[in-house]
């Protein structure tokens, strides 16, 4: 069986997935692997891919096409094609949840809202404004300041009784706001839920700008936090899908697009003699 690999070279981690060439829907991910991204994107990609190969218990030789995505997509020499994480994210999301027409990608560095066609083709998208305390990194920092581990953030946020909103649109000032909440004696739960709420608020604003429609699929590391999902559900009032492997969605989308590209290439090749 020939395989197609999708590798998402993110700023924090590099994730790789394998799918069968022309894999029928449902067959989906045969194997996945991750590695910490470093200065050298290629090494990380290779490590992640090897992990995926082991996970799928197949051999490296079976991989006949590699599509990279994410911010380090150009750093991988052995790629066949590179695709942006926005395009691949949309493809991955529609594959996992055919009903979704919007994707919300809350990653470490940025938040993105994407609206797409029923085929998963990107219609419009919006990346968070420079002055928006809207990224996962912001939550990480807040957790650090509040002296709690990032794993506990989601759960604690759910226990909030009186969330304190973060109104500032500038990341630096928003951090000051948190500090001022703390000095005013606001509970950690309420601060965290406040952060989640305002993060959701901004995300919803972005979704409206790209045109809300259909189901919303949430991807990116932050999707792992129950608090933000709840906040989104409440603010949107529509179904918010959270894929099990929410941080592999872009890699999957890349693999699927690679699959398409490969098929196109080969059909063209087969046509050559005729012309």
């Amino acid at each position: 069986m020939r395989l197609v690999a999708g590798i998402d070279c993110g700023s924090g981690f590099t994730k790789a997935v394998l799918v069968a060439q022309n894999g029928s829907p449902g067959s989906s991910i045969l194997g996945k692997g991750r590695a910490k991204s470093g200065i050298n994107m290629e090494d990380a990609a290779r490590t992640a891919l090897t992990a995926a190969v082991e996970d799928a218990s197949v051999s490296r030789e079976q991989i006949c096409y590699v599509a990279t995505t994410g911010f380090g997509r150009y750093g991988v020499g052995f790629r066949d094609i590179q695709i942006t994480e926005i395009t691949s994210g949309a493809r991955g999301a529609i594959y996992l949840f055919p009903g979704s027409r919007c994707v919300l990608d809350i990653g470490g560095q940025s938040t993105r809202a994407i609206s797409m066609s029923d085929s998963g083709k990107v219609r419009t998208f919006k990346t968070n404004d420079k002055c928006a305390a809207g990224s996962g990194m912001f939550i990480v920092r807040a957790a650090k300041y509040l002296e709690i581990s990032i794993e506990d953030v989601g759960g604690l946020s759910l226990q909030a009784t009186n969330p304190q909103p973060i109104s500032s649109v500038c990341a630096v000032l928003a951090e000051s706001e948190i500090i001022n909440h703390v000095s005013a004696g606001v509970s950690v739960e309420n601060i965290l839920r406040g952060i989640h709420d305002s993060l959701a608020e901004r995300a919803v604003g972005m979704l409206k700008r790209v045109g809300m429609q259909g189901e919303v699929t949430l991807i990116g590391g932050v999707a792992l936090q129950a608090g933000i999902v709840k906040a989104l559900q409440e603010k949107l009032g529509v179904k918010v899908n959270v894929p099990p492997d929410c941080d592999y969605v872009c890699a999957l989308g890349a693999a699927l697009l690679g699959n398409k590209r490969l098929a196109m290439k080969e059909s063209l090749a087969s046509m050559q003699p005729v012309s």
Partner: protein
């Protein structure tokens, strides 16, 4: 705040202001429901409201609506609504709040606002205003007229400038006749100009009372309250009557030596519009130090009259033209504003200058760093520079602002003490 009570103006004029403004909103509501009187939206600064009086039309002031929303803490929702259809974080929040209200059908008082019979953009320096009214005209599908007023690039307007504005005013008259189906009432126009001249004289006398110590009112926070009627009723007998009452109330205070605070400790000049979403909190920061504003540039947006300019009823069109060209702060150039501030600091005997940079308004704020440089280094006057916004609550950080205000007065107090020794 421990002594917030002191920040309440002591007198009846604020109450009368509320009644007058409510009456205005009732007229707008009436216009919205019955189609009469004709409603025309225009800009507060350097406007030709006297011309509207001549047609018995009621002015719509989008700025007043926007600031009312902000004071009532209702500005964020419409701002977000506007950003959803594409307005940028860097666009003027007044515009976004106003457009957002239109999109969401919100009005500050809950009463109806009429669709303008004419969107009349009196362009007096604020380029944003041309965009704003253009957008309003497109979104409400209303007729638009831009009255182009040459910016004051020399000390005084040239004859060419005046002729240009007068010709447009006359074009506007015939346009208004078409739109309202009413005859231009020249006598009423002259009467309106005469009322304006009286209002200006009373307002100017009030401003000059602030030269007394203690000042009977705060020439920023209280002046803003009095500015509403100034815009809506300037060309009317109600306006004259209101400002006469205001002057009498202030004079009575001066007679018994009653100031804004039991003991006026600092005298300030304030440059720039206020942070309306935090109006009270902002005022309290100064009240805490018993610091009274004795003059402000923002209170001359409607018109700059304390240095003698008045509408001249004998040449009504030229008078309106001159007012639009030269006698409002927004159409005067930046260096003329420096000069205005210098005169305030000296003639009104102030201890320091507060520059409030507002993100929304580049007309006011672009270059205030240079202004600070001029006031601190050339004039040697203590100056505090703080940043927030006049409409968007997301740009005000209370802790930071309070901290800077406190630091400013700690330093000012120390220098006054040592000077006294």
């Amino acid at each position: 705040m421990g002594d917030a009570k002191h920040t309440e103006y002591r007198g009846s004029i604020h109450q009368r202001q509320k009644e007058l403004m409510l009456k205005w909103y009732e007229r707008l509501n009436e216009a919205a429901e019955t189609g009469t009187p004709p409603a025309i939206s225009l800009m507060i600064s350097g406007n030709c409201v006297e011309l509207l009086e001549a047609f018995g039309a009621v002015p719509i002031y989008p700025e007043v609506n926007a600031l009312q929303l902000a004071i009532r803490h209702q500005s964020l929702e419409p701002i977000l609504a506007a950003e959803e259809i594409g307005y940028a974080p860097d666009n003027c929040a007044y515009v976004k709040a106003d457009i957002g209200c239109y999109l969401k059908g919100i009005t500050p008082t809950g009463s109806k606002l009429p669709k303008p019979d004419l969107v009349l953009c009196n362009f007096v320096g604020c380029n944003t205003y041309v965009k704003w009214f253009e957008h309003t005209a497109v979104l409400t599908n209303s007729k638009l007229y831009v009255l182009d007023v040459p910016f004051l690039r020399e000390d005084n307007p040239s004859q060419a400038d005046i002729d240009y504005v007068v010709r447009q005013l006359k074009e506007l008259v015939s346009l208004l006749e078409q739109i309202t189906g009413r005859q231009f009432d020249y006598d009423r126009f002259v009467e309106a100009v005469r009322c304006s001249a009286q209002v200006e004289d009373l307002w100017s006398q009030i401003k000059h009372l602030a030269r007394r110590s203690p000042s009977p009112f705060d020439a920023y926070f209280d002046a803003i309250t009095l500015m509403g009627p100034l815009y809506v009723y300037r060309g009317t007998p109600e306006g004259v009557e209101f400002f006469r009452a205001a002057l009498e109330e202030m004079q009575a205070k001066v007679a018994i030596g009653q100031g804004v605070y039991d003991q006026e400790k600092f005298r300030l000049v304030i440059e720039g519009p206020p942070p309306y979403p935090y109006f009270r909190a902002f005022r309290d920061m100064f009240a805490k130090w018993k610091a009274c504003t004795v003059a402000s540039t923002y209170s001359t947006v409607g018109g700059l009259w304390e240095f003698g300019a008045r509408h001249d009823p004998d040449h009504p069109f030229e008078a309106v033209a001159l007012h639009m060209l030269a006698h409002n702060v927004t159409n005067r150039n930046y260096l003329q504003r420096y000069e205005q501030i210098r005169r305030y600091l000296e003639d009104w005997n102030a201890d320091g200058l507060i520059i409030h940079f507002v993100k929304s308004c580049r007309l006011f704020s672009a270059g205030q760093g240079d202004m600070r440089d001029y006031v601190t280094k050339t004039l040697g006057i203590p100056t505090l520079y703080i940043e927030s916004d006049l409409e968007d609550p997301r740009y005000f950080s209370e802790a930071q602002t309070r901290n800077r205000v406190d630091a400013f007065f700690e330093a000012l107090e120390h220098s006054k003490l040592t000077a006294a020794v």
